[in-house]
């Protein structure tokens, strides 16, 4: 490098600051918790489907009772079929809602990163390597936890007879998927 090059390059570099890695300022994993989002979503979807499942299962049972088939194996199969239909709908809705929230979080995170990139020193958005309150929630905690990507204060499972049956069905049929949304 010629002497005159070096002086000018150095004067430019003197004013050039390396931008700190945004993922160290705020990682996406700390900004968006999939577990908490899924717990909130499960809360919403169960709240939506619980009364429908109750009505549907009761309808199936009454139909079989009306035909004098209260102890029939066919009734059990019909109930399982109803649970499978609702599990399908519930899990699809869970995934759709999760995708929506994750997309929203990724867009928001990107916006924060852009904001940071424009003026790293005056960035006022969320920071930190850990965010308190982000842990795997269990359905029993749904009524008390809140998250910007989840619901809050729903009525929980109380009062609906067949919601647990739907959970058990999911746990048995799709254990991995169940674990993702229920945590255990």
């Amino acid at each position: 490098m010629a002497t005159n090059n070096k002086a000018l390059v150095n004067s430019i570099l003197k004013n050039t600051k390396q931008i700190a890695d945004f993922s160290k300022v705020l990682s996406f994993g700390n900004y968006f918790s999939p577990e908490l989002a899924r717990s909130g979503i499960t809360q919403q979807t169960e709240r939506y489907f619980a009364p429908q499942i109750d009505t549907a299962i009761q309808g199936v049972r009454q139909g079989f009772i009306g035909r004098g088939l209260s102890r029939s194996g066919l009734r059990g199969q019909a109930e399982q079929g109803t649970l499978a239909d609702y599990a399908d709908q519930l899990q699809t809705m869970n995934e759709q809602l999760y995708n929506t929230r994750e997309g929203e979080a990724r867009t928001n995170y990107s916006d924060l990163q852009k904001q940071y990139e424009k003026a790293p020193t005056s960035y006022k958005g969320p920071k930190g390597t850990t965010t308190p309150g982000y842990q795997v929630e269990t359905p029993q905690m749904y009524q008390t936890t809140q998250d910007i990507y989840g619901g809050a204060g729903t009525q929980g499972t109380g009062g609906f007879s067949y919601l647990q049956a739907l959970r058990d069905y999911q746990k048995k049929q799709s254990p991995d998927f169940y674990k993702k949304y229920y945590g255990n």
Partner: protein
Amino acid sequence: MASSDYLKQYQKAFQKSQSYDVNKFSSDLEKAYNEKTNYNKDLIDQQNTLQAEAQALPGQLRNEYYQSAIRNPLAQESLIASRQGNVRGQVGSITDLLNARGQQFQDILGKAASAYQTDAQKAQTGAENLWRLYQDAQAQENARRTGGGIGGGLKDSDGDGIPDILDQYPNDPKNKSKTKTVTSTGSSQTSFVDPKWFEAGQGGAVGNFFDKYLTNTVGKSMVESGLPQSGIRFSPIKNISSGVNFYSNLLKNIFKK
């Protein structure tokens, strides 16, 4: 300053002007800038991670959905596409940031290269000016060596900036003493002790002047035939004093310039 000094200065300035290389400067700056900014490693790492995630997602989700209660394959694919779209959206955002950083560097490079170019031009102009100064100094030295201190090689023995031939003009205070008044045809005229040619007859004085000192010059031609193309004619010279006065002033002006 002597011409040799100018030459030394010129050589130094020329070397400096030749050391400017805009292309090299740009590549040096880019290299140094990238080193300082760690080659945007943070964004590139983030982008790579996201791209890997986007590529791995479909297989991973198909496997999950196969074991899930979601039975409709179209619904499964729709969910996969939407999830992958989320990740790809973030990859796009990182690409935008990388482009913005690149643009920022291009702006810096553009300004720096422009400043560098200006420096290079200044150095080049400086070297050219020194070359001219060197040539002027050399020309003056040559002129001195060949015996003329005044342009055109005319002698200026007393160093007053006026050629010797004009020093002899009676208005030159130094030569007042060299004049004498002569009487001819009943009227008084100022004449000269030296040179003798000023004492020639009225018509011949100016001609002698040019013949002797300015052979083949424009001045001589003007005296002999005027300026035919311009139509300018010199008025007849009434006597030696007025003739010499006119041409002497003319020559003084020429030499002064």
